[in-house]
Amino acid sequence: MSLIEDTLVWLGDRAHYRGVDGVPHRLFEHLWISGAAVGLAAVVALPLAVWLGHTRRFARLGNAVISLSNASRAVPVFAVLVLFAATPIGFGNRATVFALTLFAVPPLLTNSFVGVRGVDADVVEAARGNGMSGAQVLRRVELPLALPLVAAGFRTAAVQVVATATLAAYVGGGGLGRFIADGFGRADPAQTAAGGVLVAALAVLVEVSLAVVQHSLTKGPREV
């Protein structure tokens, strides 16, 4: 049988959809790990980015944030996962959540910061002139105008995290990566490929659905 057939047979086998090692449970783990990482990153990054962009002071700090998040691209996620394993943070799903959080922060932080700071200074001035307080300017002018970029950062972070959560399996964690890691481990090409197909499909699905959400947030007249 060809690899494609084998893979389809694997994917069609009901036995692979039951129990802890079944597709539904692994998918749930994958989404749980990813959601927790993006959520944690948002809690850390969004307030900081919005504050930095809103105050319009500390320009140096803002630029440092952008440089730092560019530099983070050079650090392999895989290395951070293994480094964490060698510390008290340890192995498994929880450690993976922390590692992925580190990589979800930069796109969220940069995009939100640039979005808020990029709001035309004249517009902010005009809002102030109309008697808006700082908080009102933020809530009614800056945040709505920054929303497209914030959404873009969120999408980048989420897609990247869902993709990278696959590596959890290599540090004793779960998620859909398990099928790939175990497939390689017992030299089972059908399972390896099936795992690859599942992970790829999930990533594309997340990307497309977030693109739709982003699009609906971005288009149309916004009330300022």
Binding site: F78, F184, A200
Partner: protein
């Protein structure tokens, strides 16, 4: 392997480790650099003609960007998993994957660079009697170069990090050492040294490309 009772010393930084494993470290770094060079090199070989082919046709442009975007979205581990049963546990598998991931950034920046050439400059070149090919080589590509090279830098730095995942098909350059350290009772010196080398490779590559950009586009500085 050493599994001593109590807690054996397991430092993150060990000069002894580096000294005793210099050969291994050099070999892994060399493979890493090769993987990245091949990935980005093939990426450029594919991206440049494709970008030139679609430019000026908005629908073809967005189709190409969409297609490279889909490749970019597929997680590297998934791609290696699907490729490995066909191309085996080889360097080839890793290079095909890495090449695929560079395409989006490269195509996007080549198109943006070319689109950024001012229309009156084109006009002037035409007025001087330049044909399309000559205008491309002598005028458009040089003016697009800073944007293109910015894309090459992003692609290179990301590829250095991504190459470590090649470990799943036994060809991950420095990733190989990181994984080995994991399996040797978390041999910290090995994990840490390989990670630092990885970041260094990315930094050095970025600086070299920055230097190349300065060298090739002297007119951007005054």
């Amino acid at each position: 392997m050493l599994v001593a009772s109590g807690s054996p010393p397991n430092p993150w930084i060990s000069v002894d480790y580096v000294r005793q494993n210099a050969d291994v470290l050099v070999a892994a770094t060399r493979q890493h650099v090769e993987l990245v060079a091949l990935g980005v090199g093939f990426g450029l070989l594919i991206a440049i003609p494709l970008a030139l082919l679609v430019r000026g046709h908005p629908r073809a442009e967005s189709l190409l960007l969409g297609a490279t975007g889909v490749i970019y979205t597929i997680p590297s581990l998934a791609l290696f998993a699907v490729l490995a049963p066909i191309t085996g546990l080889t360097v080839k598998t890793v290079v095909i994957g890495l090449t695929g991931y560079t395409l989006l950034v490269l195509v996007r920046n080549i198109l943006a660079g070319l689109a950024g050439v001012p229309e009156d400059v084109r006009e002037a070149a035409r007025g001087m009697g330049m044909g399309r090919l000559r205008m491309l080589v002598r005028v458009e590509l040089p003016l697009a170069l800073p944007t293109v090279l910015a894309g090459v830098r992003v692609a290179t730095v990301s590829t250095v990090a991504l190459a470590t995942v090649g470990v799943v098909v036994s060809n991950g350059g420095l990733g190989q050492l990181i994984f080995e350290g994991l399996n040797r009772n978390l041999y910290r010196a090995e994990i840490f040294t390989a990670t630092v080398l990885c970041v260094l490779v990315a930094g050095v590559a970025d600086l070299l490309l920055l230097g190349l950009e300065r060298l090739l586009t002297p007119w951007t500085r005054r």
